[in-house]
Symmetry: C2
Subunit: 235 residues, 2 copies
Amino acid sequence: MKKLIIASTSTLHGGAYLDYLTPTLAEHFSGCRNLVFVPFARPGGMSHDEYTGRAAAYFAKLGIAVKGLHEFTDPAAALTDAEAVFTGGGNTFLLVSQLYKTGSMVPLADAINNGTSYLGSSAGSNICGLTMQTTNDMPIVYPPSFKTLGAIPFNLNPHYLDPQPGSTHMGETRETRIKEFHQFNTQPVLGLREGSWLEVKGSTITLKGDLPARLFQHGQEPVELDAGSDLSTLR
Amino acid sequence: MKKLIIASTSTLHGGAYLDYLTPTLAEHFSGCRNLVFVPFARPGGMSHDEYTGRAAAYFAKLGIAVKGLHEFTDPAAALTDAEAVFTGGGNTFLLVSQLYKTGSMVPLADAINNGTSYLGSSAGSNICGLTMQTTNDMPIVYPPSFKTLGAIPFNLNPHYLDPQPGSTHMGETRETRIKEFHQFNTQPVLGLREGSWLEVKGSTITLKGDLPARLFQHGQEPVELDAGSDLSTLR
């Protein structure tokens, strides 16, 4: 049975790393002793070791030992054998490139389908969608494909930002960008605000956290979905 | 002799399309009677015809007739024969994909090298750099390459935005994104604020407008460059 937590962000403003998710993660990973961390998105360019250390420090509090995917000689086997997987945020182009380069994309998708407990934040959530094409990140490397895990049958926009009232900036708003995406692609896009996450249990997908999410569907006006909404039929 | 105006944005807040650039463009295109408009970036998904109409309405005031590149049966020849070219803003992934798909990327680079007067705004400026990898846009389509015109020997970040004081948003700042770019790429990146543009005359590159620009160089702290700065030796 699929079992995922797909979070907009790892950290809330003024909070500590993953802090707001602790009760959720304690339950989500209950019984897990070991977790494989995918550090490939490298936020701010930090090293794989450094990033894995940050995740390990957090999960120690839950009694879970963390090993970075970069530490395994056979990453595909590591994912297949993993009790649990956490993919951290950073740059989605880099993450997707490294997942393909190390032959990890398909084994990770298979592990998730086979019931390995998964946590994603930011870029690590983005890759749960059908494609990475609704990322906010800069294309700092050229990935072999934009196709991602497809653990949920739509796309995500993490760190969703509403248009800022009174802004004089002329760059496109997030909503405009997603509407441009829908000129060329038909899958729904869920704008997930910081503090929101999706809980996937089997075929049930639920919007969690306190905030509504903004749903963009091809050829339709965007709508707000209340926290607690059931997204299981969205595709 | 190369002759380019490379603008951060087509439009300033509260202003009309290209209005703030009119004195500059009247001089830049002086003597030109016809201009080829590249509408491929399609902001907000507008049609090629509609976008070309917007450009034509503006250039009529300067006595210049506009034809969209999409109206030519042989776009490569159209660019080679053009008196002047303007590439409008929108989505850079879409623009670059269409330039490759129509076989226009190399002819456009050649035309610019051979002295065809060029104007770019936003995405149309981004492609003047070595690669499109410092765009702010969403990857709504998958281009065959991130390599662009290389009309200037560095990269651009149009619509450059300073970190917002007091922001509680946890997404990466523009500066963080560009620093991540420099983990994998060595060319300088110029953050061009709205209202700034580069003037290229032969081998001379000058920062124009009233604002400073922010220069990011590999392995160095970013610096502010005053308006009027000579960027001819930047590479």
